[in-house]
Assembly symmetry: C2
Homo-oligomer: 234 residues x 2
């Protein structure tokens, strides 16, 4: 990035970047705990995820304020302004990933409070690891300002979407074969949907890294990619 006359400005930007990564770490932690809670039925862990969501929200509000303050005070030129605007967009996605972690925790609570009777046998670990992997890589590319790696994260969203469609098809089969599993299956569907959305948000974040580094907006560009598939299409 550009060399600044003001060392204080460099320190401001570094502070912002560090706090985005801290917020990212907290959000990552929330997802890991929510998934563990779903797998193990550890209700204390589940409640902790739900209770901690306000911490993610508070970090977003604080970081928004800091970015505004830095912009007003330092009046940055193009590339630094790009970084700050990318941060403002990134933390919105991070906050919404936090919301999805909370939703997973709430579903985990429902599932385990009701007991695991009529539970469809279905593995969510794979899609969870894909989504979590995307978030981790998006944060890593943000930390290293690596736009090439960020472009790869954007591509990976397709894998999460494919996995979501596969889960959906399996759930439909379960529900058809045994309608008693319908309520439980829908809970699992909402968890899978939350994971799929974590992939979407991580993709957005990776796109902001490319924009930040290259000043090139790669959103909505799908040159050689086929059009998106419908979740219920075969």
């Amino acid at each position: 990035m550009a060399v600044h006359i003001s060392k204080q400005f460099d320190a401001d930007l570094e502070d912002v970047r560090t706090r985005v990564l801290q917020m990212g770490g907290l959000v990552e932690d929330q997802i890991v705990k929510a998934i563990e809670g779903l797998a193990t039925g550890d209700l204390a862990l589940i409640e902790q995820v739900i209770a901690d969501d306000h911490r993610v929200n508070a970090l977003e509000v604080e970081l928004d304020e800091t970015c505004s303050r830095v912009i007003a005070k330092r009046q940055p030129a193009a590339s630094d302004l790009r970084l700050l605007i990318a941060v403002i967009k990134t933390i919105t996605d991070l906050e919404r990933i936090g919301d999805e972690a909370e939703k997973i925790a709430r579903m985990a609570k429902l599932v385990h409070t009701a007991g695991t009777v009529d539970m469809p046998r279905l593995e969510l670990k794979h899609v969870a690891n894909l989504a979590l992997g995307m978030l981790r890589k998006a944060l890593d590319t943000f930390a290293r300002l690596d736009s090439k790696a960020a472009a790869q994260v954007v591509q990976q969203d397709r894998l999460v979407d494919d996995e979501f469609r596969s889960i959906l098809r399996q759930l439909i089969t379960f529900m058809m074969e045994d309608p008693r599993t319908i309520t439980r299956s829908l809970e699992i569907l909402f968890v899978a949907k939350a994971l799929e959305r974590i992939g979407d948000h991580s993709k957005n974040m990776a796109e902001y890294v490319v924009y930040m580094v290259e000043g090139r907006d790669v959103r909505h560009i799908r040159a050689d990619a086929p059009p998106a598939k419908d979740p219920l299409a075969g």
Copy 2:
């Protein structure tokens, strides 16, 4: 808002606000067409919604660039900067509402291509009108910078969520009674979910209006509101 020394700056801000409202009008139009396409099975209309999503995306990218340019050129102080940052956040939500309209159109296409056999009898007009009403009001409060009315829009999101839960319960009943309706019911569920998300995004937009006008961040404040209900909770 503040009086500016530079008339050109006033013109810049007015231009940004006008274009946000144009983008909002296009997004509104996309939802109306998608819902009409779902109700009537007008495939030409449905295809038009899918094809026009790129126009919404392009408006977001253009407006982001304009906001960055205005900030870099005019170096605005607190309240104007707040407006520009609120715009940057608002258009992200508008773009994602556009994505939800496209999703509804894709579901409408699936539903009507497959034929309406095994279709659950269920009315989505009410939730659609609620969500669309929230979007319209959010845009209107943005146009008039009316933070009081914006605070009311924030409250209305609860009605959309309640309606979504009611639809979900009805769909579960349909699926239980006749498992042949499962695939169709899930398509309807995804449409209802898209409408519920349009409510969420409109709520976000209304919160940005309050922030813009009052400089007070009302996100994540739910002083006298009960905690959010789980979609599958009774």
